[in-house]
Symmetry: C2
């Protein structure tokens, strides 16, 4: 069912198109990675997978989400690097730093980029619909670029000094370079998809840009909420914001994987809905980590979101609880907080039920996502990567 | 030669595409405008045009660039408004303010947006290649959106407080909203093009996003030059920067018009080159206006570029002249300038030959552009709109 038979994949240049300067396209079959998880296991049944898991010479099956993420990184990174190399030099320098590939002087570094959750979802969604995941490397690269564009701009907007244990790009290179590099990475993402000669490329670009507009709305709402007093933001508003800010790109990642698998409208919509639900679960967990995460693992100070007066999901749920703890939390949110106040605020969120609510809401979203997926994907076994990734994001601790 | 015969233009929705929420598409034939110049005069020969010019009942022909710009605005604005209306509300509010359609409270205003040079170039390029200009409204809207995206971000980056006689968007709504609205307008531009079912849409998106990356490089260079001492920027570097920052989008505007006219690679490339040359002429004139423009017309203080220590083309040419005036200018550029110093700097640019050089260089670029165009366009008469626009931008005074 792959749309990329050998020799006819997206590596072929569009013939006769009056396009811009040539760009290295996402090939259907990138250089084989030395990492075994890069073999993304197309077309196996759940039963075959189980059999393989019990055999000693197959290290891939059953490794679960960490191996899938590692595999996605291995499949996507060569294409991502090739794409970033096409950027003009001063912009490339900022992009390479932001992605963890270089230090601030441009010297190679391996400080580790993101977790590659979005690319992994693209590939897993393609596989869930019976296609070779490697045929969907191009949209996987595109969503990772879009994700990093949002990080660059959000760090400027939120004035966040740290990202992935390092100073943020704007803190190192200045606000102008961070804004410009974000703009260029967004454009690069779209250019990659648009240069793909697949007939589905137009729909993919339309979907991705629609998603970016939704991401913008989510980020805008997030900022707007910060200026409001704590009691003036409703849980529904924050849920809508989180859906736009996080759910949209996870949903789009799944939808692009489905689109590249040649799926019909209904399956694409179902995969989008799955990703959105999983994305909201992801955000709920992220918000918990923003309060109770280990600074050694998150790279941020303990309770960073509380200190920044973030109206995250557990906080707003706690504020809306009508409890005494809610009142204490609201009072704390009216003033700057020192370390002790942050600890008190965290305790108040917990006593007001915000922590339990967020955990239960994440589990509920995941259950809904999996139910929807089971109905949409004909071969349930093919969806095991997607399920593993979705479960992973609701269990992670950083 | 039009790719948009009646009833089969880009107004038709892509059938069966698993795209995002429906967006009002750029129709082939927008609502007729009450303004006569909106009739964009397809398929007339130069001779016919001349004949019409002499007849009393035909107010359109021969009005030249101002009427073409007015006509482009009339053709593009309904589509632009419809596209902006699809943006999420808080983002739309900023976009409408920036475009001059609303005041800071959202109340309707008619403070006048931009000059619509880029949309006019798209339409004129389509006509030059024998197509109905109204078939190219969609890319005309897209380039205007991209232009405004760059203005929003550039104003943040340059900390410019004023644009089109009003406070800039970031000054009114804050930096976050200005960045986010720019991102959304860029995405909207691409989404419009991608939603167009024309087979050429993919090439158009690739070209537009390639152009945005070039615009980013130009803006990055512009910022980087500001941090260097006056003598450390060469004229070649500033010319390359201006080509990227201004020439690229004017070239892309012409190229998209050609692409939508169904032109082949060679003609598209020739139109791109024409737009780039005209764009550099445009920038040269813009730089002169930045020094000698009338504040009442430009909406900026006299000599604003000098006060900001901008290394604009006439300034760098003056600095490179090896004259005594160059030394005086370099010295002035090493310190903050009051009004008197700005006047001295302007006089020094003039004495060092920067003003004459810029005027001559603009004329030279225009001559080159027109020569190239004459070779590329089979029916020279069809190119008269393009020529009128190109001449206009090198003669304007604001």
């Amino acid at each position: 069912m792959s749309r990329h038979p050998a020799g006819a994949g997206p590596a072929a240049a569009p013939s006769g198109a009056a396009g811009p300067a040539p760009v290295r396209q996402c090939p259907a079959f990138p250089t084989p990675s030395p990492h075994p998880a890069a073999d993304l296991r197309p077309h196996r049944t759940h039963r075959e997978a189980h059999m393989t898991m019990t055999s000693q010479d197959a290290p891939v099956e059953g490794l679960g989400a960490p191996a899938l993420l590692e595999g996605a990184r291995a499949a996507v990174e060569p294409e991502l690097r090739a794409a970033v190399e096409t950027l003009p030099r001063p912009i490339r320098r900022v992009a390479r730093y932001h992605l963890g590939w270089a230090d601030e002087h441009g010297a190679p570094a391996a400080t580790g980029g993101g977790k590659a959750i979005r690319p992994a979802l693209v590939l897993a969604a393609a596989r869930a619909l019976g296609a070779d995941p490697l045929g969907a490397v191009c949209p996987a690269v595109a969503v990772e670029l879009v994700h990093n564009f949002t990080l660059l701009h959000d760090d400027v907007i939120d004035e966040d000094p740290t990202r992935r244990h390092r100073p943020t790009a704007w803190a190192v290179f200045g606000v102008p370079d961070a804004i410009i590099t974000g703009d260029a990475m967004l454009s690069l993402a779209v250019r990659l998809l648009a240069a793909d000669p697949l007939p589905t490329a137009g729909a993919a670009v339309a979907r991705l840009t629609e998603c970016v507009i939704e991401l913008c709305a989510g980020q805008q709402a997030d900022c707007a909420f910060e200026d409001r007093p704590p009691e003036a933001v409703t849980l529904d508003e924050v849920l809508a914001m989180a859906t736009a800010k996080t759910g949209a790109l996870l949903g789009t990642s799944c939808a692009l994987g489905a689109l590249y698998a040649g799926a019909g409208d209904e399956a694409v919509a179902a995969l989008d809905a799955f990703g959105r639900e999983a994305g909201l679960a992801f955000q709920l967990i992220d918000d918990l980590i923003g309060i109770w995460g280990d600074p050694g693992r998150t790279g941020k100070p303990a309770g960073a979101d509380l200190a920044a007066h973030k109206k995250s999901l557990p906080v707003v749920a706690a504020l809306a609880s009508g409890t005494e703890a809610a009142e204490e939390l609201a009072e704390l949110y009216r003033h700057p907080m020192d370390e002790r106040a942050v600890r008190r605020a965290a305790a108040a969120v917990e006593r007001a039920g915000g922590r339990d609510w967020a955990q239960a809401a994440a589990a509920e979203r995941m259950a809904g996502a999996m139910d929807g997926l089971a109905r949409a994907v004909p071969d349930v076994a093919a969806a095991d990567d997607l399920l593993a990734l979705a479960e992973f994001v609701t269990r992670r601790t950083r």
